[in-house]
Amino acid sequence: MPLLKLIGDRLLPAIEEAKNEVSLEDWRANRIAHPDATALVIPNDADIDDLRCDVSGFSAIILEFPAFKDGRAYSQARLLRERIGYTGEIRARGDVLRDQLLYMVRCGVNGFEIAGAASDGAETALQEFSFAYQASSDGATPVWKRRRNRAAAA
């Protein structure tokens, strides 16, 4: 599956060595058995507030979007960034479509396993809106803050 990565505010095709993946369940059960694991796969019904393990050592956490309609991982991504403070790659896997990339990025996802055809125009998908109304994990300045900054500058 082709991989895109967010570099700065651009989405670029990435080629990289395969990660050594481990599921959250296996990792919790016996981490000694997975000395080479570099990526943690978290199912989308896992409670991020109750991971019961340190995830900071993984270079990537893989979140699952089994169908485009299933939006649990958007919340999981935000919690990983904002509550756990995870700074590595958060990668979206599954039914990842061009028109969802912006929201995923806004929730802190920065790696995307995306089928060739679905990635057409992926670059422009991130440029379609100049502003965001609400603060999220991407650090975008919400509109209310822009208004305030503008008023202060005037």
Binding site: G71, R72, R83, Y133, Q134
Partner: protein
């Protein structure tokens, strides 16, 4: 009224461009209908029985005259010269061509309107009290908070793929005209004993196949923390709401599975853990939004109007219309005018382009340029001088908009039903038309008094039959249209879910059944009792007997 600044305008314009691109990809075949569906659904575009239907958002039901004219113009240009006002204070075009939709949206964007989040599993257009800013006894204008919610929920990256659609309603009066208890979240703004204003937060109300009345999960939320608290509720729901069965995916199912107390503690826990400082708006931004909703400059007027009194005596029809269609206003000498979109025998909620233009003109002249849409599919002119009521009445009459039946037996909510909807078991609109014709005499209607009839063409309950004083539900019985009657529902502050009265009725029997129920009520009511009061006093059995008694 709220006015867009450059940020709001840019967001809407960019959304139209984005959608234009999506439509182009569909028309060129780059997207299949299956791939296009979730995209169009994010923008209010449904595929119905015969054509596409576009749902336009009317945030918290407030419109300016200019916006109403633009809606009328769009109905001429892209549709068949009429539009339909919905139970969510929105407007629907039933016949636009796909290729025209981006241009239609462009035209609406010019008057600060859009179709954003009018469908899809996201936070939908927030609804409110149609008398906001005009009603007596209001704590403050609830639309301030609706606008706060509108901005926060627009393109919310975390909450655009929820288990199911999500509806929020806000009221700021004791008398609930926004049906907040049958919404996913209902917010009631009030002053507590310490004199602070805040929200009672109710969660898990909703109709559909499993109707529930919302439960209070927080008695008092200081109003400045509204957004972070909403974010906590939505996050709990997004993570824990069921996704395995779309009929069990609404937040009401989650809340009732967990119990209101446990659900509330999950929300409180999430709320305590989150960093609220970038979610809740600072006081200066709330003040900026509040300024837009400052009351218009009402003239100092005496409470009574000599002209109104003498015209009501001279013109009996006008007198009746004043009694049934106008409502007390907070400013002396002013009234709230309801415009019925339920002419006798007409289609509930439909308005022609000419009627929309007429309402725009009247509002411009007599109501500070403001129009409201109600969840009962009518319109409101919120600020009319009593001295002007007669002129307003005559103008409405000329546009065939002066039916004096607000809240009465022919002021019926009906879903589109089999005439438009692909999910329908039965037709709804013709039943509404026949009931309305049976009770055509406005004098009799006034004597019957408040009576809310609500009709849904299937179990999805878009016509809110569960909360009708008399509810009518279309069911399919071996390919034939049948109707089940429910009794005793209410969507107001005394909210309750109606009880099924008994066996289903054929389409030929329904109107007679309503007449029997009304007849029984009129014989047995005491003093000023409404139908619902008599029903509650005497109990279901008596009414069922009356309904099914051999003729």
């Amino acid at each position: 009224m709220y006015r867009y600044d450059e940020f709001d305008a840019t967001m809407v314009a960019e959304r139209v461009e984005q959608f234009r691109g999506q439509v182009a990809r569909r028309l060129s075949g780059d997207l299949t209908e299956d791939q296009f569906k979730p995209l169009r659904l994010m923008n209010g575009l449904y595929l119905q029985l015969h054509a596409y239907m576009l749902r336009v958002a009317i945030p918290y039901g407030t419109l300016s005259s200019k916006q109403m004219r633009a809606l009328a113009e769009a109905s001429r240009k892209y549709d068949k010269g009429y539009a339909h006002f919905t139970t969510r204070q929105n407007l629907q075009y039933n016949w636009p061509a796909l290729v025209d939709v981006p241009d239609l949206l462009d035209d609406l964007a010019k008057v600060e309107m859009h179709a954003i989040q009018t469908s899809g599993n996201c936070i939908r257009n927030v609804t409110s009290d149609q008398y906001a800013g005009a009603a007596q006894g209001e704590v403050e204008d609830p639309r301030i908070w609706c606008e706060v919610i509108r901005q926060w929920s627009t393109f919310h990256p975390e909450f655009s793929y929820l288990p199911r659609k999500f509806k929020i309603a806000v009221t700021a009066c004791d008398h609930d005209r926004a049906a907040v208890k049958v919404h996913d979240i209902g917010l009631r703004l009030y002053k507590n004993d310490a004199g602070e204003t805040g929200f009672e937060v109710m969660v898990g109300g909703g109709l559909g196949r499993t109707p529930y009345i919302g439960q209070t999960i927080r008695k008092f939320l200081p109003k400045d923390h509204l957004l972070s608290y909403l974010e906590a509720i939505l996050r709990v729901y997004n993570l824990q709401g069921r996704r395995d069965n779309m009929y069990k995916a609404r937040i009401k199912i989650l809340l009732n599975a967990k119990g209101a107390d446990d659900f509330a503690s999950l929300v409180e826990k999430e709320w305590a853990a989150m960093d609220a400082k970038d979610v809740d708006l600072p006081a200066d931004e709330i003040a900026r939004i509040r300024d837009y909703f400052a009351a218009p400059e009402f003239e100092p007027l005496p409470e009574t109007s000599a002209g109104l009194d003498s015209n009501s005596t001279k013109n009996k029809a006008f007198g009746r219309w004043v009694r049934t269609n106008t409502h007390g206003h907070r400013a002396p000498g002013y009234a709230i005018v309801n415009i019925s979109l339920k002419p006798i025998g007409g289609i509930p909620g439909d308005a022609s382009d000419a009627q929309m233009d007429a309402v725009a003109d009247i509002a411009e002249q007599h109501s500070f340029d403001e129009i409201r849409v109600t969840h009962e599919q009518n319109l409101v002119l919120p600020h009319v001088k009593k001295d002007d009521l007669y002129a307003v009445y005559l103008a409405l009459e000329a546009a065939e908009l002066a039916t004096a039946n607000i809240g009465l037996v022919s002021d019926i909510i009906a879903c589109p039903g089999l005439d438009y909807c692909s999910l329908a078991n039965t037709r709804s609109i013709p039943i509404a038309q026949r009931i309305s014709e049976r009770f055509a005499d406005l004098g009799v209607q006034e004597d019957i008094g408040e009576l809310k009839i609500k009709i849904s063409g299937c179990i999805n309950a878009c016509g809110h039959h569960h909360v009708g004083h008399i509810g009518i539900l279309g069911v399919d019985k071996k390919g034939e249209e049948f109707y089940q009657i429910t009794l005793g529902g209410s969507g107001a502050e005394d909210a309750s879910i109606g009880e099924i009265a008994g066996r289903g009725l054929s389409s030929g029997e329904v109107v007679d059944a309503v007449e029997k129920l009304v007849g029984y009520y009129r014989e047995n009511r005491q003093d000023t009792e409404r139908f619902l009061d008599t029903y509650r006093r005497l109990g279901a059995e008596k009414f069922k007997e009356a309904l099914y008694a051999a003729a």
